[in-house]
């Protein structure tokens, strides 16, 4: 069978770096030369959900379903190694660097957000370690955080160690804030001063950073889980969000105001289809699609409104996208029994004509894309492939309400 595992996440970094995670396999390339970087370190053992570079492109963080967060650094030439690896109590949903590259921030399926110094090594594996604490020290699951544990507390406390283990497993990380629902996505604002988190309970929260205990505002309007959120220098104070409610929304993250809403997909009384924003370019082009649909739609935020900028029908359903330094879109698709690798590139001459990169147009780039596609290809049996797609479906993971 030639079913290919698509990349659940991919990102273009500085200096033509390109990182992607296909299943549990992590890859790093230069997309200007096609050179594959060597990554030395313990591999991920679960689907990689999030990869992000630091601003210099000298480090990146990877995290996912194996409940670990790994920081990788550039050693020399094409050698990179794992600087640290942390085991978390829950699956990690997003991980990124602060703007000054000093801190790594990650979120989990429980709803918590943690941070740790980017340069810090892996925590020692002593089992009795606790979270390093400065401000918001006491986590609800650890009763040792209160200064006195009374007799009543330990007497009635029967389910002791089987309780929330997240505290024990987040060694060396500080809990900086939390939602009371799975965090589905997280991003930093372009000025690095605010952290934006989105959850399964339709919330988008803008918190100060690093003082994430100080909430700046909420962006409230979605009626279903928020699938993804994007900020970008090109978007300035705008935020893009997609949701299981079938809408793409544009917000002002400085005050939480909803600027524009676009409903995509079936109209009521049909069930809405989840909208997933896929990527935002350096020049403000927004790519989005209906989950499970091969049609990619493009928008621009112009004066507080979302303007349609065309679309393209891909041969297969895209799972992740990323704009490269030329603002062309690399796409990893779920390909079953099809020719070629899971990778393709969407090019455009003006914003209304999108085509897949053809070898004649740019032979060297095409070759690099094919090479990377081949290297990162792993073919699986049909059943495993179907399971994989289910794991990658945000709707399957997060949707609560039946019907519109």
């Amino acid at each position: 069978m030639t079913h290919q595992i698509p990349a659940a996440t991919m990102v273009h970094g500085p200096s033509s770096l390109f990182a992607l995670g296909c299943g549990s396999s992590l890859y790093l390339f230069s997309c200007s030369t096609g050179q594959q970087m060597e990554l030395t370190g313990e591999k991920h053992t679960g689907i990689i959900r999030s990869i992000n570079f630091n601003s210099k492109g000298s480090m990146f963080v990877s995290a996912g379903d194996d409940k670990s967060v790994k920081v990788w650094k550039h050693d020399k030439g094409h050698h990179w190694s794992c600087l640290s690896s942390r085991k978390i109590g829950k699956k990690t949903t997003a991980a990124l660097f602060s703007h000054d590259d000093e801190t790594v921030v990650f979120s989990d399926k429980f709803g918590d957000v943690y941070s740790f110094p980017a340069q810090s090594p892996s925590p020692s594996s002593s089992s009795s370690s606790t979270t390093t604490t400065t401000t918001s020290s006491s986590s609800p699951s650890s009763s040792s955080s209160s200064s006195t544990t009374t007799a009543a507390d330990s007497a009635t406390d029967k389910s002791n160690d089987k309780g929330k283990v997240k505290n024990k497993d987040t060694e060396g990380s500080q809990n900086i804030m939390g939602h009371y629902a799975s965090i589905t996505d997280m991003t930093m604002t372009p000025d690095g001063k605010y952290l934006i988190t989105a959850d399964k309970d339709e919330h988008i929260r803008v918190s100060h950073f690093p003082h994430a205990f100080d909430i700046s505002c909420y962006c409230l309007s979605h009626k279903e889980f928020v699938s993804r959120i994007f900020t970008a220098h090109s978007l300035k104070d705008n935020l893009i969000s997609g949701s299981g409610d079938g809408s793409l929304r544009l917000w002002n993250w400085t005050n939480g105001h909803l600027l524009d809403t676009v409903f995509i997909g079936p109209l009521p009384p049909a069930d809405p289809v989840t909208v997933v924003p896929l990527a935002v370019s350096n020049h403000g082009l927004i790519a989005a699609h209906l989950e499970g649909s091969p049609k990619v739609l493009f928008y621009r935020a112009v004066n507080g409104k979302l303007e349609v900028k065309g679309s393209i029908d891909l041969p297969a359903v895209p799972v992740s996208c990323s704009f490269d330094q030329h603002n062309w879109i690399w796409v990893s698709s779920a390909k079953a029994d099809q020719q070629g690798t899971h990778l393709s590139i969407i090019t455009y001459s003006n914003e209304y004509e999108y085509t897949l990169l053809h070898p004649d147009v740019n032979p060297s780039l095409f070759k690099i894309m094919e090479q990377i596609g081949e290297t990162t290809s792993s073919k699986v049996a049909a059943s495993e492939y179907t399971n994989m797609l289910q794991e990658l479906s945000k709707t399957a993971q997060y949707k609560k309400h039946a019907g519109a």
């Binding site: 918590d112 401000t135 006491s138 986590s139 609800p140 209160s146 007497a155 309780g163 009371y180 609560k400």
Partner: protein, 289 residues
């Protein structure tokens, strides 16, 4: 410190509305909740203060014929309404009521149970809108009926209190805007003794950020419990949170609100009956230092 397991506690004086004391606030909410604070039908809760949408539409029809910019009040009995034609025209199509610039909920009782506190507070702050939030259906219904009853029996009174069924742990920002509240109450909250259930406690570092968000700077959070371990838990959490500082006993001297939480709720009275000890603690919302 109570040694009885909480599940055995019953509410003996409210037979029709008796229900198990504990709900799991962490599970998905299966009753309606507002998407934003603007979506709450305030006319339903405080009809004396907010006009219904259809009345506003009628007013708009009238006002368009009027060129004066003077405020127009249609119903003389409605207090606090101050609309101009311009205000009426900008009512959001989703709103059930006119956004009244002068009136909004300022006290919130988180987990109001059978309404004892809000009923006690109502005459003490007759012009302040007070809202009780309760996750369980039956107590919410009971409080609704209780308030209706009080409003009928006492003409002109109890118009400033109401109750809404809500999961405050998950959806507080859906109910209140930033810095809207002057006071927030946590009276005799569920102790959730088991360590595994500590995350269900109404006071946690994550939730404190949300309480700070809905409270104005200088706003106060009142806590009281008869469970010493819970009191210590709440005090330690509030104390380490950078946006809260403890209010000293000296500053609370003569505070009618403190007296209300100590003696004016159903739980408080139960504790009094058994000569139990109550542990209050009050905190002020401060700016990020």
């Amino acid at each position: 410190m109570t040694t009885q397991t909480p599940q055995k506690r019953k509410k003996p004086i409210k037979p029709y509305h008796r229900i198990k004391a504990h709900a799991n606030p962490l599970s998905d909410v299966n009753f309606p909740y507002p998407t934003t604070p603007e979506d709450i039908n305030w006319h339903h809760h405080y009809p004396a203060y907010f006009q219904a949408k259809h009345e506003i539409a009628e007013a708009a029809a009238l006002d368009t014929a009027i060129t004066t910019a003077a405020p127009t009040i249609l119903n003389a009995e409605i207090v606090g309404m101050n609309r101009t034609a311009a205000e009426v025209n900008t009512t959001s199509s989703q709103g059930h009521h006119q956004h009244n610039h002068h009136k909004q909920v300022e006290f919130a009782d988180i987990g109001c149970g059978y309404g004892g506190l809000i009923v006690t507070l109502s005459p003490l702050f007759p012009d302040t809108l007070i809202l009780g939030l309760e996750i369980r259906d039956k107590p919410t219904q009971y409080v609704e009926e209780r308030i209706k009853d009080l409003r009928e029996k006492k003409e002109g009174e109890y118009n400033n209190i109401s109750v809404i069924r809500a999961n405050a742990m998950k959806y507080l920002p859906n109910f209140f805007r930033k810095a809207q509240l002057k006071k927030i109450f946590f009276t005799f909250p569920d102790p959730h003794f088991k360590k595994a259930n500590h995350k269900r406690r109404i006071i946690s570092p994550a939730l404190l950020a949300e309480y700070a968000y809905v409270l104005e700077i200088g706003g106060m959070a009142y806590t009281v419990t008869d469970v010493e371990e819970l009191h210590i838990w709440m005090v330690s959490h509030f104390s380490v949170h950078p946006l809260f500082e403890r209010v000293s006993d000296a500053d609370l001297e003569g505070d009618v609100v403190l007296r209300s939480i100590m003696y004016g709720t159903e739980e408080a009275k139960k504790v009094e009956k058994v000569d139990g000890k109550k542990y209050p603690a009050v905190f002020r919302r401060i700016a990020d230092p």
